[in-house]
Symmetry: C2
Subunit: 302 residues, 2 copies
């Protein structure tokens, strides 16, 4: 089944204590779509400026991403720049220029309106809702968010929660949104606001999947050399939604596996800057690391 | 097989934002021994003052803890008091009075000297070494430590690492000891210092077990109501060592299970103050939560 993904497409500048790169392909929709395309066909909804490099459009196409819903507008593409400390969990945003993104109010192509699976990657909840309401009868809707929207568009986010099936957010965001330091309480509080499932991402500590009668704790892959953590969360959620679209089945079993496949793809993403590692990622590499997730979390009495 | 445990026995005062209790049974050897006694016979090596309540000695005995190596000295028992914030991960030590502990240099009872399994619970590395050197031919030695010793007795700790089989420490201590923010690198660096296995405890995020060709990531039990986190780490390590002593087998399979049983017992410990929850903990409750650990970490493709 196909998966509609909306979010940002950006040109990123990323600095770590070791390296610095400019005009990288970035944005939540880029990371999520590339990750999801490893599992299912993707219908992308996003906007870029007339400066957007053709090589990136070619890259999307090579990965089977449908660009009918990618608007190319006069002006500059959304730009983001950020800097990581030695502790790569610590990031500082240096600049954000919305550019063409500022007035983005997409109308969906007709061919997109019946997409059964939907991932609303990180953009404002109003924009997420604007896209969602154009989809006829979505089977399963996943949404991501960020601290900025929790702080500035809380009402729109709460409204969105009533319309989606699964919210993905990180540890700090879950605590901020619920004012709860205990993550288990935080996850269960979010469930009460609407979505049937909640995933709390914990970076190096893995992630937690909550449902009414479901709790799954997934480990993180033991990475020693992280080159660029940017987009890991988007890749996680994109692969998670892509796997569900591929299986066309949402049950406890597929959800747990979707979380692990999301973790696998995210663990590859951070091994290089931007989407470089994902460009060449193979199905056999995905299977290999999935097996390692099995080995590292197995303990059953034999 | 029996397990020798040395460490502190203390009378604790613990304050949380909700409750406050005084003269609780505490100390690393108390928590570890009670936890281990759920799996194997325990030979305790510790010291208390003449003020130590008889009811606590009775409690140890009821749990099959051998007290031949528990010295009762003139004076006051070691006392500790601490306070937790709303975020129970944040603890402040209010006072520490070593009292009789200050001059503790135990000579082991003859009957203890052939104990095959050893857990050196959290006390100074010099004291841990002093006990260890009196044991004839230990089969497997586990040691715990804390930030204080990393800061003040680093050389003694490094010396100890060459003599033990498994070090247990928490996330912050692993980072401090190795000066590495990446926990995977930190774990592997500690392995190079001597022990065959290292366990990094991550509280609400579970724990990691490292060996030369072994990596196991265990989840934490999803606790919503933590009453008193004191001693959780000691219970974890005590139950871990106790399970290995019970099985009398140290291999990848028993180590993984020992980590899960350690996590199970620690998750019960924090449900009440001091050792109250462990006093009444049953084998069937342990089995029940072990099964929940299986359920919450399982994802294999069916």
């Amino acid at each position: 089944m196909s998966l509609l993904i909306t979010g940002s497409v950006a040109l990123d500048s990323v600095k770590t204590p070791i390296e610095e790169h400019h005009d990288l392909l970035g944005g939540s929709a880029s990371y999520a779509s590339m990750a999801a395309s490893l599992f299912s066909p993707v219908n992308m909804v996003a906007i870029v400026g007339s400066d957007f490099p053709k090589k990136y459009l070619d890259l999307y196409r090579e990965h089977g991403i449908n660009l009918e819903g990618l608007q190319v507008a006069e002006g500059q593409t959304f730009r983001w720049s950020g800097e990581y400390e030695w502790d790569l969990n610590k990031r500082r945003t240096l600049s954000v220029c919305l550019n063409v993104f500022e007035t983005f109010q997409p109308g969906l192509p007709e061919a997109y309106k019946n997409t059964p699976y939907v991932f609303l990657a990180n953009i404002s909840p109003q924009l997420q809702m604007h896209v969602l309401t154009q989809i006829a009868q979505p089977k399963f809707v996943v949404a991501d968010t960020m601290d900025l929207w929790i702080g500035t568009q809380r009402d729109a986010l709460v409204e969105l929660l009533r319309r989606i099936d699964c919210l993905v957010l990180n540890e700090g965001e879950a605590r901020e949104f619920t004012k709860q330091t205990n993550l288990i309480k935080a996850g269960r509080l979010i469930l009460k606001q609407g979505p049937e499932y909640v995933i709390i991402k914990k970076g190096e500590h893995g992630c937690l999947l909550f449902g009414e009668d479901l709790f799954f704790s997934a480990p993180a892959y033991p990475l020693e050399d992280i080159h660029d953590p940017t987009g890991a969360g988007d890749c996680f959620a994109g692969a998670f939604a892509g796997y569900l679209a591929q299986k066309d089945r949402v049950d406890e079993h597929s959800l747990r596996n979707a979380v692990v496949y999301g973790s696998v793809v995210a663990s590859y993403c951070v091994e290089d800057f931007s989407l470089k590692r994902l460009e060449s990622l193979t199905q056999s590499e995905i299977r290999e690391r999935y097996s390692l997730f099995q080995v590292m979390s197995r303990f059953e009495v034999g």
